[in-house]
């Protein structure tokens, strides 16, 4: 039978370890970029129209998920009409155009998002990935490579950028 003091010490250690583990996980979660399909909520300072457009875009994504592509695009366009400066609406349309293989249009929407979001790293990563895929689709491999490398600079673990570079014949080193 262990002395009473020993049991307390072990419990404290376990508690501390748990806190440290949870803290580490939280820190990792905060550091790690969001998965591409996870929405980036609008800033607290965003105009009400932009916030409303964000929610519409989320509705549109749900329509897209159940195969209602035309309805989803109409919802994204509605969001854009409501808030032309919404990064969410512009990005969603960029992605939709990418799916439709309209790469020029996808790039236009991507450029708009880039102008609207400034230096936000998560948005920059997503725009760079969109550009990479659009340039790749359009056959502009040099720009596609450049864009995928941009993604990796912002998110060294990006599997999508690696896959893209792999398709282009460049296998980046695994960090």
């Amino acid at each position: 039978m262990a002395a009473p003091g020993v049991g307390v010490t072990i419990r404290v250690r376990i508690a501390l370890a748990t806190v440290a583990l949870l803290g580490g996980l939280l820190a990792c979660a905060l550091e790690r970029p969001l998965p591409s399909d996870e929405p980036i909520p609008p800033d607290a300072s965003a105009a009400p129209q932009v916030v409303a457009a964000y929610h519409l875009v989320e509705d549109g994504r749900q329509q897209l998920a159940i195969g209602q592509t035309a309805a989803a695009i109409a919802t994204f366009q509605k969001a854009l009409a409501l808030a032309p400066s919404s990064p969410h609406a512009n990005f969603a349309l960029g992605e939709a155009k990418l799916r439709q293989a309209d790469y020029r249009a996808a790039l236009i929407y991507g450029d708009r998002v880039a102008r609207l979001v400034g230096n936000d790293p998560e948005w920059r990563r997503r725009v760079a990935l969109l550009r990479g895929q659009a340039y790749e689709g359009a056959g502009d491999m040099a720009r596609a490579r450049e864009a995928y490398l941009d993604v990796l600079r912002l998110d060294p673990g990006s599997g999508e950028a690696r896959d893209g570079l792999g398709r282009l014949g460049d296998a980046p080193p695994i960090p």
């Binding site: 105009a47 009400p48 129209q49 932009v50 916030v51 409303a52 929610h55 519409l56 329509q63 209602q68 035309a70 309805a71 695009i73 109409a74 919802t75 366009q77 509605k78 854009l80 009409a81 409501l82 032309p84 400066s85 349309l93 020029r104 249009a105 790039l107 236009i108 929407y109 450029d111 708009r112 880039a114 102008r115 609207l116």
Partner: protein, 764 residues
């Protein structure tokens, strides 16, 4: 003799009988053909309905700025004292809006009306909640307003319903009050006719009808409204034929879709489907017994028993219908009691709708490329457009007031002053407002989409864009915003004649920066730039921006002497506002058939025709026009949002223009006479004030945004006089935009350093 005459007479009699029988048979045959051919073919010509954009309500929205109260009244919503309990009702207090949405079928989904509550603070929505389940919602759409109908002769609003979709209570109510023996007679009801004849004889006029539902259908469907015995006899014959040929169900369904049930402004309301939406804000299948009885009671006189104008009388009539249903065993006592205590909807008549006839013409013209005129006017298509009703109304008011004000200043001309407005959203290409002339009733000619007018100086930014664009061969632009151009007399050959363009102020200003030349719209400088870069390059740029009209390669092109279509000009400026991306001007967003199937849908079409950086440079120059140049009246009139714009005036002051844009809204205004008389006013004098009024109204409640320079732009502080980098010696610096790598490297050399200037000021 007598015996020989008799058979001849008999033969003649027989012939006469045969003749009468033949004529009678022919007549009956033709009646039968009339009855069956119409009944079996397309029964109704259902006009197409043109809708505006639905308005979205969301937390943070300023309901007053977006005129939501007016919109609700136009949509037929009625204020109620208590909380709204049925579709189409609302209650608005200082801190709360309770609203019961009406049913509506959108291109992508169907909305069954539900109650919504918005917490308000200073007219601004703080929170939106579905009142039925208390769940917060991010936004909600008000149904789109009807802005026009496409019809041939008269606008008969009609939503066709199937008998299976009509609640039994409505059928029972109608049969009970209009034709109690409907299921038993053959089309006519002798007892009802006898009763009606007796009343008519007493009154010595045709007051009582005694008509069965079948006869009413025949009268409305095949015959005129005249009251003669001949017409009555024909009606009876046709009713018999109809009953002999078709089932009671088919006749009843036709009746339910045919009956007239009131007016919605200039649109007649026909059939229970349309009436259900008008009076109750919901689809017919959701009508309650009380509502069914109210509607049935209105058939006799939609005007007299209209709950919107005389609720007491409508209620009395409804109660009579319910009591009759009780007598006939069509409704149980408990249900009847509940129906009798149900309040009559007290919604007032919908406020007069905003009509956009010029828009309707554009819609019709565009759709006639896809559908025949007959289809458009008879198949009940539902056409969804980008038009914003409040922006349309605001633009109409601004144009009307502006033109009236100008006419007070101008000598009375032989024809009324005309004007037109386009409001667009550059990022989507959506046309938000379109006014093709001052009064559609007077002339239907659309001056924004059908006219070709000289743009005057509105063409200059296109030429300057060509000058600022990178050369395909050298990869560098010929000019930057600070390039010095000569505003001096220049003589060029035009139509084989020497021509020396003059400036508006009759003065040549010598060497000026390209920015100054555009901000003050110097003609001689513009011609000089055009000569230097070549007219072909300008035409190429104009084509990239979407101008399709002929542009002869003449030196005067840069001064806007070639006619353009105003809508194309607005779209060209939208490219500049949209960082070089051209969005096709878009009015029709979707077309649905009457069964709710989407027939066509138009997506935003976007293409990068000019680089974002080059487009931004022109926007930057056009901002200077408004801050310092010919468009500074915009600021003087109090419009203080970030804005870029350009004035335009054509030779002899025949056309006055102003086009300008914020990052999210563009408007173009034209003022002139149809027959090209001189206005004696410039664009800044005639069009700019109207434009400012339009923009002030249409941007109310919108967020203020600025033009963000794209990545390939560098900003430098520049001495505007020399076009060189500013330093302490050049105090009046402005921020100038350059394509990266084209910014000046030298500094200005003018004046003493700032410290010395300060010393001089201090010591006098």
């Amino acid at each position: 003799m007598a015996s020989s005459r008799r058979p001849r007479r008999r033969r003649r009699g027989r012939w006469a009988v045969w003749l009468v029988l033949a004529v009678g048979a022919g007549y009956l045959g033709s009646l039968y053909l009339t009855v069956t051919s119409r009944f079996e073919g397309p029964r109704w010509k259902v006009p197409s309905t043109v809708y505006a954009e639905p308005v979205t309500i969301y937390p943070g929205m300023d309901l007053a700025a977006h005129q939501i109260h007016d919109r609700l009244l136009r949509l037929g919503y009625g204020p109620v004292a208590g909380g709204p309990t049925r579709p189409g009702e609302f209650r608005w207090t200082d801190d709360r809006l309770d609203l019961y949405l009406q049913d509506f079928v959108y291109p992508d989904h169907r909305v069954q009306g539900f109650p919504v509550a918005a917490d308000l603070r200073n007219h601004r929505v703080e929170r939106l909640v579905r009142s039925d389940d208390g769940v917060s919602i991010p936004s909600v759409d008000l149904e789109p307003e009807v802005i026009a109908g496409l019809f041939d002769e008269s606008w008969e609003g009609r939503r066709l319903v199937r008998l299976a979709d009509v609640p039994p209570a409505l059928v029972d109510a109608i049969v009970s009050i209009e034709d109690v023996r409907f299921y038993n007679h053959w089309g006519i009801d002798p007892r009802a006719i006898a009763r009606a004849l007796w009343t008519d004889l007493k009154e010595r006029e045709f007051a009582q009808g005694g008509s069965t539902l079948t006869q009413q259908l025949v009268k409305n469907f095949y015959l005129t409204q005249e009251r003669t015995l001949y017409r009555k006899a024909t009606e009876a014959l046709m009713a018999l034929m109809l009953e002999a040929r078709y089932s009671k169900g088919e006749i009843l369904e036709a009746y339910l879709n045919e009956i007239y049930l009131g007016q919605r402004g200039d649109m007649g309301v026909y059939g229970v489907g349309e009436a259900s939406i008008l009076y109750f804000g919901k689809d017919v299948e959701r009508l309650t017994p009380a509502e069914s009885a109210l509607l049935a009671g209105m058939i006799r006189s939609p005007r007299a028993y209209n709950p919107q104008t005389d609720p007491d009388r409508a209620r009395a009539r409804r109660d009579r219908v319910i009591r009759r249903m009780v007598e006939l065993g069509k409704i149980g006592a408990a249900n009847a009691d509940a129906a009798l205590t149900d309040p009559v909807p007290t919604r007032p008549k919908a406020r007069t709708a905003v009509r956009a006839p010029y828009v309707a013409d554009v819609v019709r013209e565009q759709l006639e490329r896809l559908y025949s005129r007959d289809v458009l006017t008879s198949e009940g298509l539902r056409i969804f457009t980008s038009l914003d009703v409040e922006k349309q109304r605001a633009a109409e008011e601004a144009l009307r007031a502006g033109l009236a004000g100008l006419e007070r200043r101008l000598p009375k001309g032989p024809e009324p002053l005309q004007g037109g407005v386009i409001v667009m959203q550059p990022q989507t290409g959506h046309i938000l407002a379109l006014i093709g002339g001052r009064d559609y009733g007077e002339t239907q000619f659309n001056r924004m989409t059908q006219a070709r007018r000289q743009p005057g100086s509105l063409f200059k930014p296109i030429a300057y864009l060509a000058a600022l664009r990178k050369d395909a061969e050298t990869g560098a632009p010929r000019y930057t915003p600070v390039s010095v151009v000569e505003d001096v007399p220049v003589t060029v050959m035009a139509n084989g004649q020497p021509w020396t363009p003059q400036n508006y102020d009759k003065v040549y200003h010598g060497p000026v920066t390209l920015r100054t030349a555009l901000e003050y719209s110097f003609n001689a400088a513009a011609v000089g730039v055009a000569q230097a870069i070549g007219v072909e390059r300008i035409i190429e740029t104009a084509r990239a921006l979407g101008l399709t009209t002929p542009l002869p390669p003449v030196p005067s092109l840069v001064l806007g002497t070639s006619e353009v279509i105003p809508l194309e000009l607005a779209a060209a400026y939208a490219v500049l506002a949209n960082f070089g991306a051209r969005t096709e001007p878009l009015m029709i967003k979707a077309v649905m058939d009457r069964d709710g199937q989407v027939l066509a849908r138009k997506e935003i079409a976007v293409d990068q025709v000019v680089s974002p950086e080059e487009a931004y440079l022109i926007t930057s120059l056009l901002r200077g026009v408004v801050e310092r140049g010919t468009g500074r009246g915009v600021r003087a009139l109090g419009f203080d949002r970030p804005v870029a714009g350009k004035t335009g005036t054509t030779s002899d002051f025949r056309d006055a223009w102003f086009v300008g844009y914020t990052p999210e809204t563009l408007a173009l205004v034209w003022v002139g006479y149809d027959h090209n008389q001189s206005l004696h006013l410039t664009g800044a004098q005639a069009a700019l004030p109207i434009w400012t009024d339009v923009m002030r109204r249409v941007t109310a409640g919108e967020p203020i945004t600025d033009f963000t320079p794209p990545p390939g732009i560098v900003l430098r502080r520049i001495d505007p006089a020399s076009g060189l980098l500013s330093n302490s010696r050049c105090p009046d610096a402005i921020t100038e935009a350059f394509l990266a790598g084209t910014e000046p490297t030298g500094s200005c050399a003018g004046g003493p350093p700032r410290f010395l200037r300060w010393l001089r000021q201090v010591w006098g």
